[in-house]
């Protein structure tokens, strides 16, 4: 038979009523509260009995105190005199029980009780919640900036979505707790003026739902990191969860506990713990970041698909990743001397983003004759994001003031088996070999080598088959957007040559394009 039991309790700090009722029920079941930990509360097995519990507050107490102060012990003496036995305490909250029937409550004046609760809230709970809210708001603002800048990269990142989800939950929980407290306090002050105590309540269901959601999301996130096969990312996440978070927790609690045992004053303990926590925070993060970078440069995370070679005294890496489309597929010949690299590959619940690159090795004999090929595939899992993803690609040069004057203009989608197709049009050099292809469930941006020449309809068909899967054309699942149809009509009038296999003859006159 277990002698102790640990429970995760999700009560609001000011919810005396809810806590007292819960502890009374636990005692009736034979479990008496013994210790309030940082995460779990410990209950000791006891004879089932009807006890009266009282939760009250000692605002001057601090978690950094080496032990109960003399004043606090005087308070305990007063309580003991009226039959109240201290069950457990955690800085300001003090939990007592009384074995006498109908004991005199510890707080008999609602104004005094409210004052103690409010001083406790102002001293510990509200400042920490305010800091959390500020950090959440700062993260929200940074995330919003990144979303505006490159929504595809953010929404395809399981890391970004996990962090965003955590901060949103923190903001909601903190917001609900703070607003609930102030609403309750307003009503409690009015009741106290009439000499009445007002029952409090917690949002336990909301807190439990948030915890379950967080656990599920964390599980999904960890699985998605494992499934990505990205060894560096797995190593980073493992270090974060196994070293960083528990390490910081151990350091902070270790320092605090050590100084408490050494009877350091609360002020000294708080100052030293904060300084060491900040130092440890940066030190451990630094070790993780530099360790990962060092490991990466020394090939610790290299897969079997990677090899290093020397070229002019420089260590270079050649990759042999499995790419869905290769130069060989398009030219229908076997070529040697390439590096096949999946530069980026990650998926979230909303999007997937893969960046592939095939380029010749530096040590390849015929390096100059081997054409490059690179492409980005965005898998759109949440259909409502399709337009946003496409427009992000279409508008990529809009704010790119320092770059050349490029834009995507509609091209014939049929040879690609796509729903919509666009080709990059450079203001100075005319059409480039970069295309944006919209398939029903994915968007592909593909860049052919400068020396490739015009992409033939056969090569377009291979791209469609390998990257787009022809699913849109076969299933008839996708339809061009009205925006595309309008833009294509306009484009057909202005640039009739684009999208056919004849090279476009254009000249930039300084006041616009001249076609001939």
């Amino acid at each position: 038979m277990k002698e102790t039991k640990r429970r995760l309790e999700t009560f609001s700090l000011y919810d005396c009523t809810g806590l007292e009722k819960h502890l009374t029920q636990m005692a009736e079941k034979g479990w008496l509260l013994e210790k309030i930990g940082q995460f779990f509360w410990t209950y000791r097995k006891a004879e089932p009995q009807t006890l009266t519990f009282c939760v009250c507050y000692f605002p001057k107490a601090s978690q950094f105190d080496p032990g109960p102060s003399e004043e606090q012990q005087t308070f305990y003496d007063f309580c003991e005199h009226t039959g109240w036995i201290l069950a457990a305490s955690s800085a300001q909250p003090q939990v007592f029980y009384n074995e006498r029937p109908h004991p005199i409550p510890i707080e008999t004046d609602p104004v005094m009780e409210l004052d103690a609760i409010h001083r406790t809230m102002k001293r510990s709970f509200l400042p920490s919640q305010l800091v959390l809210l500020l950090v959440a708001a700062l993260n929200g603002a940074l995330m919003a900036c990144r979303l505006v800048d490159d929504p595809v990269e953010v929404l395809a990142s399981a890391n970004s979505l996990f962090a965003a989800m955590c901060w949103v939950m923190v903001a909601v929980l903190v917001g609900v707790e703070c607003v609930s407290y102030f609403l309750w306090r307003r009503r409690a002050v009015r009741a106290a003026e009439r000499g009445e105590f007002l029952n409090s309540h917690s949002h336990r269901k909301l807190q439990i739902a948030a915890l379950v959601l967080l656990a599920l999301w964390l599980g999904y996130y960890l699985l998605s990191v494992l499934a990505s096969g990205d060894r560096m990312m797995i190593a980073l996440v493992a270090l974060m969860f196994l070293l960083y978070v528990p390490g910081l927790f151990l350091v902070i609690n270790g320092v605090k506990g050590f100084l408490k045992r050494k009877k350091a004053t609360a002020k000294v303990n708080r100052a030293v713990t904060i300084v060491i926590a900040l130092a440890a925070c940066y030190a451990v993060m630094g070790v993780i970041v530099f360790g990962t970078l060092y490991g990466h440069s020394h090939g610790w995370f290299a897969g079997n698909e990677e090899e290093t070679y020397q070229y002019n005294g420089i260590t270079c890496t050649a990759y042999h990743d499995e790419l869905p489309l290769t130069v060989e597929d398009l030219l229908d010949v076997d070529l040697d001397g390439y590096s096949y690299w999946q530069q980026w590959g990650e998926e979230s619940l909303l999007l997937g983003r893969y960046v592939m690159d095939q380029s010749p090795r530096f040590d390849a004999e015929n390096r100059r004759e081997l054409p490059d090929l690179s492409y980005t595939i965005v898998l759109v899992k949440a259909p409502f994001l399709y337009g946003l993803c496409r427009d992000t690609f279409l508008r990529q040069w809009e704010d790119d003031w320092y770059c050349w004057d490029s834009e995507y203009v509609p091209a014939d989608a049929a040879p690609w088996g796509a729903v919509e197709a666009y080709r990059e049009l450079d203001g100075e050099y005319g059409p480039r070999n970069q295309y944006l292809l919209c398939y029903p469930d994915r968007i592909v941006e593909i860049q052919f080598d400068y020396d490739w020449g015009e992409v033939t309809p056969e090569q377009m068909a291979v791209v469609g088959e390998k990257l787009g899967g022809w699913t849109g054309a076969q299933r008839g699942g996708g339809r061009p957007s009205p925006l595309f149809i309008r833009a294509k009509r306009k484009s057909a009038e202005n640039f009739p040559q684009i999208g056919v296999d004849k090279p476009l003859q254009r000249e930039y006159t300084g006041q616009g394009f001249k076609n001939y």
Binding site: C56, E70, Q73, T74, F75, D77, F78, C79, H81, T82, W84, I104, P105, I106, E107, T108, D109, V111, M112, E113, D115, A116, V189, E193
Partner: protein, 107 residues
């Protein structure tokens, strides 16, 4: 409107101050108030602890002795004055009651 601090006294404040007309410690007060009021008024230990602290800060009582954690207190002149005022207020209230309820009965 919240009342100004100690301008009027609650029943518990009144009896704590009344106990401290002679030197006594916190635990004495916890025992004496129910006896003085025949069990009608009880002061909770937490409420007493906070009130003693606030009375000290307001200069209504002063600490006279400390034996270990056992501290004794006594009413100051200002505390006595406050208690006197409260008594006058209650007496005036009782007088009003007697006068007006007495008239009712006469009818």
């Amino acid at each position: 409107m919240p009342r100004a601090k100690f301008q009027t006294l609650t029943e518990q404040m009144f009896y704590i101050l009344l106990c401290l007309r002679e030197e006594c410690c916190g635990m004495d007060i916890l025992d004496r108030v129910p006896v003085m009021t025949q069990g009608r008024v009880n002061v909770g230990s937490g409420t007493l602890y906070n009130l003693l602290e606030q009375f000290c800060q307001a200069g209504m009582i002063r600490e006279t002795r400390a034996e270990g954690r056992k501290r004794s207190y006594l009413l100051t002149d200002y505390g006595r004055e406050t208690l006197e005022k409260e008594y006058e207020r209650i007496r005036a209230q009782a007088e009003d009651y007697r006068r007006w309820m007495g008239k009712e009965r006469e009818r």
